[in-house]
């Protein structure tokens, strides 16, 4: 009973809870879901993320600092993954930056080249060296003193309304001390001049000059920039000052308007004013005036010409080489006994393949005639027998060894032999020539047969007929009766003298087959003459009755 009532109570409590806290319970469930469900969490954060970043950035720089390593890492990963996408994104920035850098480098190079040219070898340079020696100053110091065109010594940034100094730069720190007073005084001077001369117009002083010292004054709505220079500044420098004032005016408008004497906010001016603290030297100024570093340009142009010339010479040489090569190939193509089947280029060498008659002109020896280098040409030539007539003729000549008194020619396969020859040589030659390919007929009708003058003529180099194959059937045109060669006594005597070479003390007379020898001669010559006179065919007998060997060695 008691348990039952307990249960009833519990159910009633449940009911009561449900009635009282149903709404809260649902909300609690929702909140619990929100906390546990990562996805929902992210969605909630996403709603406020941009706003949160904005607020934090306004507060301090911590967000940037904490994100930096992550961003660096992502960039690294992005590059590792695909460098192209990042390089595409950076392209519009990189191009101008690189161009600017290159332009600067070239300008600097030209300038230093110009100065080096100017100072190293000029009379002026020598003078300065002498001056440096005389005054025991360094050469660099002398050059600087002589070439200084202008130097910016001080830069004052002045608040226009109060004349108070906002920022000051100087090449000499000692000048910093009075800068504030000078600044005010400069303003007073401006006011004074304006009051005295310009009346009520709003024009201020732009320039003050004393000797080589110049104060350039550029006025903006709230600031005055006074630049103290020694020497003559180029026109472009004034533009630079103007740009600086415009720039500063734009960047610090609010600070100028709210200026109450506190100069702290203007310490960052340094980066704008520092570029004005420059100096320039003659070399640079001259090039500035001329608008172009003319010497350097000439040097560069000359260099370009030399390069072009060198290249063109190479081209011409190449063309010449090609022409020479072409002419050479033409030449060996026309050369009898050479057939070119292939020309290859390999590793800078030319390989010529083909056929070559051993009796033809060696193509290698022709190279030098065309100005070509033989070491760059390789010949792969197979031997063959050419049937061109000049080569056939050569081959015939090699075989029959014609004496000087014989001429041989080839025409349409006919070998023509003419001149004077002995019967035996002619017949051997006729037989041998027929074995040569290309010789179809032999015409020896023009040969005068010489009944041998010397009995052994012309047997110094006999033709070896037994080495030849069986005799081919070819026509030999020959006179049926060989012409008898008519020989005078005088001619015979000449041959005898040529053979016996008699000393001057001997007289020779030839008549009708008999040689009469008189005078004095040595024993040995007489012996030689006796043994050899019969070698002249016409001499039958030898008379020596009037020949003595007395007193001869």
């Amino acid at each position: 009973m008691s348990a039952n009532s307990n249960q009833n109570n519990e159910a009633a409590m449940q009911e009561l809870r449900k009635l009282l806290f149903e709404k809260e319970s649902v909300r609690l469930d929702e909140l619990e879901l929100l906390l546990r469900d990562q996805k929902l969490h992210a969605q909630e954060v996403a709603k406020v993320l941009a706003e949160a970043v904005k607020i934090r950035n306004q507060k301090d720089d911590e967000l940037g600092k904490s994100l930096a390593p992550t961003i660096e890492k992502s960039i690294k990963e992005s590059i590792a993954k695909d460098p192209k996408s990042l390089s595409d994104a950076l392209f519009p920035v990189m191009g101008p930056a690189i161009r600017k850098s290159i332009n600067n480098s070239i300008a600097e190079m030209l300038q230093s080249l110009n100065q080096t040219l100017e100072n190293s070898f000029s009379v002026q340079g020598m003078k300065w060296r002498f001056e440096a020696m005389r005054t025991s100053k360094s050469f660099a110091e002398v050059v600087m003193l002589n070439t200084l065109v202008y130097r910016v010594e001080q830069v004052f940034l002045i608040h226009k309304e109060t004349g108070l100094l906002l920022h000051h730069l100087s090449f000499d720190p000692a000048l910093n001390e009075d800068a504030d007073v000078v600044s005010s005084m400069l303003t007073a001077v401006q006011d004074f001049i304006q009051d005295s001369f310009a009346g009520s117009t709003d024009q201020g002083i732009e320039n003050l000059r004393m000797g080589d010292l110049e104060v350039i004054i550029e006025t903006g709505p709230d600031v005055v920039l006074a630049v103290v220079c020694r020497g003559t500044t180029p026109r472009s420098f004034n533009e630079k000052i103007q740009e600086t004032v415009e720039n500063i005016q734009q960047l610090y408008t609010v600070e100028f308007k709210e200026f109450e004497g506190e100069t702290e906010p203007f310490q960052s001016m340094n980066e704008h004013l520092q570029p004005l603290l420059v100096s320039d030297f003659k070399g640079n100024a001259e090039s500035d005036k001329k608008g172009s570093p003319i010497k350097a340009i000439i040097a560069v142009v000359l260099l370009v010409f030399i390069i072009i010339g060198w290249w063109a010479f190479g081209e011409i040489e190449d063309n010449q080489k090609q022409d020479q090569w072409h002419n050479y190939l033409q030449k060996i193509h026309n050369e009898p006994g050479i057939i070119i089947t292939n020309i290859q280029q390999l590793d800078g060498k030319s390989i010529i393949s083909g056929l070559r008659d051993p009796l033809s002109t060696d193509p290698y020896t022709l190279l030098s005639g065309f100005g070509l280098d033989g070491s760059n040409v390789i010949f792969h030539m197979q031997p063959y027998h050419a049937l061109q007539e000049p080569l056939v003729l050569k081959r015939v000549a090699q075989l029959i060894l014609p004496p000087k008194s014989i001429q041989i020619t080839m025409n349409n396969g006919t070998l023509t032999i003419s001149g004077v020859a002995s019967e035996i040589w002619l017949s051997q030659a006729e037989q041998a020539a027929l074995y040569i390919a290309g010789v179809d007929n032999i015409d020896s009708s023009q040969v005068s047969i010489l009944t041998s003058v010397f009995k052994d003529f012309p047997h110094d180099r006999p033709i070896k007929l037994d080495a030849l194959p069986s005799k081919p059937k070819k026509a030999i045109i020959r006179n049926k009766k060989p012409q008898k060669h008519v020989v005078t006594d005088e001619a015979i005597l000449k041959r005898i003298i040529a053979l016996l070479k008699p000393p001057a003390t001997v007289q020779l007379v030839y008549s009708k087959g008999t040689l009469y020898v008189s005078g004095k001669a040595s024993e040995s010559w007489i012996e030689f003459a006796k043994n050899n006179f019969s070698r002249v065919e016409e001499v039958d007998s030898f008379h020596t009755s009037n020949l003595s060997s007395k007193g001869m060695q």
Partner: protein, 165 residues
């Protein structure tokens, strides 16, 4: 450091230049005063733990035919108005100049310096004049350039008056 431009004004011969001469850093000689009508000096004063660099424009004295050029007043944050305690006419000149300054600059702090306080025998500033000056609400100091009396105070008073409270 805070910089402020002040002008020291008054009739001719009231002792403006003498007041500043011994107590300030002078770069420029007095010839500027006669030629250009102004000489600028510097004085650093320490006020309420702040160093204030005062650029003091010592403008030539007001005369009948030589008025103070108003362009020198431009941008001034405070005025030291000097009166010669022995010459009563210099009070009127001071008043005239004060009006011109107020026209040009609006409401800027003034400090009256009744100078030559060492010359008590010739002193001619009476109670009436003192009341007249006190009406302006500006501090009034008796100074002596000769003895140096109140000169430092004069500069620190104007510096204090110019700083935001």
């Amino acid at each position: 450091m805070i910089q402020k431009k002040i002008c020291i004004l008054g009739a001719a011969g009231v002792g403006k230049t003498s007041l500043t001469a011994q107590f300030v850093y002078s770069k420029f000689s007095e010839k500027y005063l006669s030629s250009m009508g102004v000489k600028i000096d510097r004085k650093v004063v320490h006020v309420d733990e702040t160093d204030v660099n005062l650029m003091i424009w010592d403008v030539h004295g007001e005369e009948k035919y030589k008025k103070i050029p108003t362009s020198y007043l431009r941008g001034a944050s405070g005025i030291l108005m000097v009166i010669d305690g022995t010459r009563i006419d210099t009070v009127a000149v001071a008043e005239e100049v004060r009006q011109r300054v107020l026209d040009k600059l609006g409401d800027v702090p003034f400090v009256y310096l009744l100078n030559k306080s060492d010359l008590q025998d010739a002193w001619s500033i009476n109670e009436n004049i003192m009341q007249q000056l006190q009406v302006t609400g500006s501090p009034i100091l008796l100074t002596s350039a000769k003895t140096g009396d109140n000169v430092e105070t004069a500069f620190s008073t104007i510096a204090k008056a110019m700083l935001p409270t």
